[in-house]
Point group: C2
Chain length 218, copies 2
DNA sequence: CAATCATTCAACGTAATTATTGAATGATAC
DNA sequence: GTATCATTCAATAATTACGTTGAATGATTG
């Protein structure tokens, strides 16, 4: 298969890896796997794919270097192969945000309008955490919280938020986060909680970026 | 076209940009454009595509945010849209180098065997340039040299190298470079010159990375 | 203003990608 | 050792991507 021209061979392999990123649902799977490893069935359910179809996508990303997998009992758990995969998706996001008109519009029109106040930077949050001045709220589903979260964060999945308001202190500042820059859970949590009088802001990006920055996790 | 779900819309656009990277010849075009802007015809000739086919690839990369273009006389010159595009291709290379077995093999087997000695880092070269202790040799084609090069570098395209050996001083150290980490021109130049008794090493990566690092250019 | 020329478009056949379906693995668990 | 279950494979049909050909565009140049 490998041509006599080594550069052609390399670029053909690079192209295969890039192609593996070239599908919206696969990018959603990568966002989920950035939270932690997951089974085929769990990914299929959360992304809205049939199990066979999800398995196809996963094996393709496995072949091209994006994912690794291991067996745990009867399930097979997939995970991001390497921190460099997270850097690659981040670089892709940056290019599109800067250079694709529709992306800029959606981000301005949808994500920014929902967060008039400045998001909290990772650095600021990690300082305030040390001082114990802030409540951190993780609004991802329980299993993602269980796979790792910001220290001392409390987990209230967005769907349960209105039912569990009493668990959130009203007198302290709250910082909510979820999966990453394009995850809407934290945006919606901020909107809901502000409507009920809470003092709440959103963390920039999400848990994978927190972890990738080398900050402590539980 | 944009769905009611903003995240799906975003990820669909991200996927289109990723797909634009998913073709070996397009990656070669991006490597050439990292040297500087070029016309459709020049790119087609150098990559070995028909003009119509090259135009298709270029327009696709333009649509998806990778390229920009401008008119100059009767030609249209394409260029990388943004430094973030270079970061994206670099991130792609990193993922494949770390996680794709065949890529690791080709790099070890072909690129490393040809350069037993350590390559010169950008920092080291820029220091030695200040001291005037080193001759820098640019072995890319003339037009790429003309679009920008390392300060004081002399340009001898690889094909002319054996004919123009007398232009290279024998008593000083020579550092050769070309387009980037997968460009074989500098490797071959080092091999040829060492065979003739020159004291020559290779610069890490190539001109685009030198420029992207903020180092001076002519 | 007509001719030129680089680039783009349109149409075509071929190949690759995608989602679905149902069967086949193959390791676990009883 | 057999049944179970999550995952993968194989085959299909629909869609999309690819390269070639030849015509069209459209700005420049004389």
């Amino acid at each position: 298969m490998s041509s006599e021209n080594p550069k052609r061979t390399l670029f053909a392999r690079f192209a295969e890896t890039a192609k593996a990123l070239g599908h919206g649902r696969r990018l959603e799977i990568l966002e989920l796997l950035a939270q932690g490893e997951r089974s085929v069935e769990a990914l299929a359910e959360r992304v809205g794919l049939s199990i066979a179809n999800a398995s196809q996508h996963l094996r393709l990303m496995h072949r091209t270097g994006l994912l690794a997998s291991r067996r745990d009992g009867k399930r097979i758990l997939y995970r991001l192969n390497d921190p460099s995969v997270l850097e690659l998706t981040a670089a892709l996001h940056r290019v599109a945000e800067r250079n694709v008109a529709e992306v800029r519009e959606v981000i301005r029109g949808y994500f920014h309008e929902r967060d008039a106040l400045e998001p909290v930077s990772r650095k600021e949050l990690s300082q305030r955490l040390r001082d114990g001045l802030v409540t951190v709220l993780d609004v991802r589903p329980e299993d993602e919280y269980a796979a790792g979260h910001v220290p001392k964060a409390i987990n209230i999945p967005l769907r349960e938020l209105t039912r569990r308001l009493r668990q959130i202190p009203k007198n302290r500042e709250v910082v909510a986060y979820c999966r990453g820059p394009y995850c809407v859970l934290a945006f919606e949590a901020v909107a809901i909680l502000r409507g009920r009088g809470f003092k709440v802001r959103r963390l920039e990006d999400g848990y994978p970026e927190w972890k990738a920055a080398g900050l402590p996790t539980d």
